[in-house]
Point group: C2
Amino acid sequence: MAEPAQRRVETRQRILEAAGNLFREHGIDGVGVDAVMKQAGLTHGGFYLHFPSKEALAAEVSQTLLERAAVKWQDLSRNLDRDAALETIVTHYLDAGRVASGHCCPLTTLGTDVARRTTSRQAISGALRGMLDALGRCLPGRKRQRALTALSMMVGAVVLARLADDAALSAEFLQAAADSLLPVRASRTQ
Amino acid sequence: MAEPAQRRVETRQRILEAAGNLFREHGIDGVGVDAVMKQAGLTHGGFYLHFPSKEALAAEVSQTLLERAAVKWQDLSRNLDRDAALETIVTHYLDAGRVASGHCCPLTTLGTDVARRTTSRQAISGALRGMLDALGRCLPGRKRQRALTALSMMVGAVVLARLADDAALSAEFLQAAADSLLPVRASRTQ
DNA sequence: TGTACATCAGTGAACGCGCGTTCACTGATGTAC
DNA sequence: TGTACATCAGTGAACGCGCGTTCACTGATGTAC
């Protein structure tokens, strides 16, 4: 069966997925429309049946990825107890494999790209607020302050881990951030 | 007098300076050779008298800016007492005006750009180590661990402050990081 | 059930703009005599 | 001191490639009769 409308939605989704991976790995300016379409198993001409421009795709990709992360954190922080939620969020975020492969948080890979484009700045702030809320729910004490510094530390650690050419230094950044954010676990993690 | 060799060096320096500012503000891919040369008060044709390619310029710019920061931190950490050095480094790094104007640390504005280019990754790691050493010298206790998390937090706070479209949220990130890193001052800073 | 037609996602050649790079030329400065 | 020449940083027109975008066409699927 697979009625045409359904098929169309699936194709669009494949393009978004392909772009999400490629943009995070090589940057928005580092990937052409043809590469995205090839990755999605199509040819470049069909792109404009699904998106009005590359810029629009970039905006939707970063927005979608960020919202997905924010929603996931919100769910975790509501459905697990504090410590378990925090540990899940932090260890997943700082996972060395994901960082190395580029499948990591769009804040760290597209942050500067997106900061320079006007498009969807507002949606990004919304996602940021969602992430901060979720983190605050998992943290004791001065929640707002601690959520702000925790998010900063996670983002910075991933940015720096990707920047260091040396795997050992990369790992140090990720490990130090994890130990600092999950003090109880610090002793047995390593 | 101003012998020609001297003049040549100065011109080259002007180009580097112009590129440093423009690249940090708009990204490497967001600025053309012609824009850099115009900012330096020249026309684009002369660029290749000073640099073999735009890519080479980008590598030298990021390397120079990072080394400059690393050296400055090293000097501060050696010539001031601990608390004063730390306060100078942190408040300067997290200065809201500099962040907003784009004259901030190249780690936060060129980080992802540079992470994707092979050029000069090694020099960058060198600068990172220098910054970590300097920070460690200003911090008590487990110096290495604290230097890693402090640098991560500063970098992340600036990245997030630039990403947030809302000035209040921006300021929150910078303030929270400063308060966390300079606990003694926290009460009187605000 | 079979044939003719309509729809539309996808194809791939072509277009055109932006930008990195090249090159013949200019004009200011320094040197030789 | 003045004139002729050499040097070379800088100019700006031109080139060509990459890439975003367009468009005439294809071919598979669904509908009418």
